[in-house]
Every structure is written in structure tokens, then in C-alpha cells.
């Protein structure tokens, strides 16, 4: 059988890659996709731990996370579309309306 550590290690690696992508990328769209990568890394850890604990509760939580991610994607993409309509750009650097 595959050791649990492999899955947790992959989950940690994916999460860190997601965080790095969030800071490296410069447009709102890919930054938003980086958040999805982080969510998926957490999902992998949930499923692996559910398997090692022998309880399906972790998989139910992953189901809820996926549903909430779908809602989040819908609203987030609507906001990005709105920003693009007003500013003709989705670069993160140009969103400085609230900068002091």
C-alpha cells in the first residue's frame, strides 16, 4: 500500500506551489486560479486522512469544499468581469483605488 506520507507530501507541495503562483502572477485571473490550486491541495489532504482514519466524513467535507469552490468561482469571475469592464484591464497593479 502507498504510505500516507506520500499523499500528504504531495498535498504540501501543491499548496506551496499555489501560494507561490498567487504571488508570482500579475493578473487577477491567474491569481484566482492559484487559489483553486490551494483548495485542491487541501482536498487531497482531506481525502488521504479520511482514508487513513477509515471514516468517510473527510470525503463529505471535500464534497462541500468543491461545491463552495464552484460558488466562489462564479462570484469571483463575475467580479473580475466587472473590473475588466470598468478599467479595461485585469492587472493586479492597477487595482489601487483603496491604497492610502
Amino acid at each position: 500500500m502507498i504510505p500516507l506520507g506520500y499523499f500528504i507530501g504531495l498535498s504540501v507541495l501543491l499548496f506551496v506551489l499555489g501560494v507561490a503562483a498567487f504571488f508570482i502572477k500579475r493578473d487577477l485571473m491567474t491569481m484566482f486560479m492559484a487559489v483553486e490550486v490551494m483548495l485542491n491541495a487541501a482536498n487531497l489532504a482531506f481525502v488521504a486522512l479520511a482514508k487513513s482514519a477509515g471514516s468517510p466524513a473527510g470525503q463529505v467535507i471535500v464534497f462541500f469544499v468543491i461545491t463552495v469552490a464552484a460558488a466562489e468561482a462564479a462570484v469571483g469571475l463575475a467580479i473580475i468581469l466587472l473590473v475588466f469592464r470598468q478599467k479595461k484591464s485585469i492587472k493586479a497593479e492597477e487595482m489601487r483605488l483603496m491604497k492610502g
Partner: protein, 165 residues
Amino acid sequence: MGVFLFFLLAVLCVGGVLGFILSRNQAHSALFLVLAFTCLGGLFGLLDAPFIAAVQIIIYAGAIMVLFIFVIMMINLEQGIAPERKRWTLGLSAVLAVFLLVELALAVRGTLGTLGRTGGETIGSPTELGRLLFTDYLYPFEITSILIVAALVGAIVLVKKEGKE
């Protein structure tokens, strides 16, 4: 066999995320992410979670990423975005990522010994999950459906063009 499959899927998954980071074109980034999420679905299958694997591939790699690609097509930027952010932010984010990796690895290493292995009987059959969703997790399930409806209406209201009768 299982270990071989794990490494194949893990390498494809990490490669997809790396391609997502390195690609300059947003549409290519999104397609790399579809690859990564599909491989993640395969990993869920390896972990005895067939229902979650199907949901991952249908909803994440299918619906959500297609939504992203639709919006990318609507926004239709010119080929990528020129690299104009200062170099030190790139270095800083790399340092942050390394620190986070070390920190998480240290945190996981301490607890992993007590967690056991991924063996044993099947736990994630769709029947079992469906029973749990409609008994123990009924309230979260209903609240999530209300959340989905609210997000749907909110997205429509946000994007709707004003001033048209």
C-alpha cells in the same frame, strides 16, 4: 502497481501546476490546470474515493475550469501580460514559498508517524456517502444549496448590464 500509478499521477499533477505557473498565456495556464485537476481526480480514485474522484473530474476539471476559459475568452487580452513587475517581488515570493514549504514539512513530519497508512477496507462508496449526506450532514447540505443559489443570483446581478430596459 499502486505506487507506480501514484508517482505517475503525482508527477503529471505537479508538472501541470508548474506549467500553469510558467506559462505566459492565460488560456494555456487554464488548460495546464485542467490536466493537474484531472490527475488529482485519479489520485482520489487511488485513495478509494470513487465518488469524489468523479465529482473532481466532472465539476472541477469540467465545469469550473470551463467557466474560467469562457471568461478568459470574453476578456480576450492581447498575448499574455508583459513581465514588468520588479524582480525583487519574484525573489521575495520564492523565499516565502521555500519558508512555507519547510514550515509545513516540519509540521507534518511530527504528526505523520501516528497517522498510520492508507490501507484497509473501502470507505467511500457512493451509497455510503449519499446516506451520510442526507442524514448526518443534512443541514450543511441544505445550506450549501442555498449558498449555490445565492452565488448564482449574485453573479447574474453583478454582470448584468445596467440601463437597458
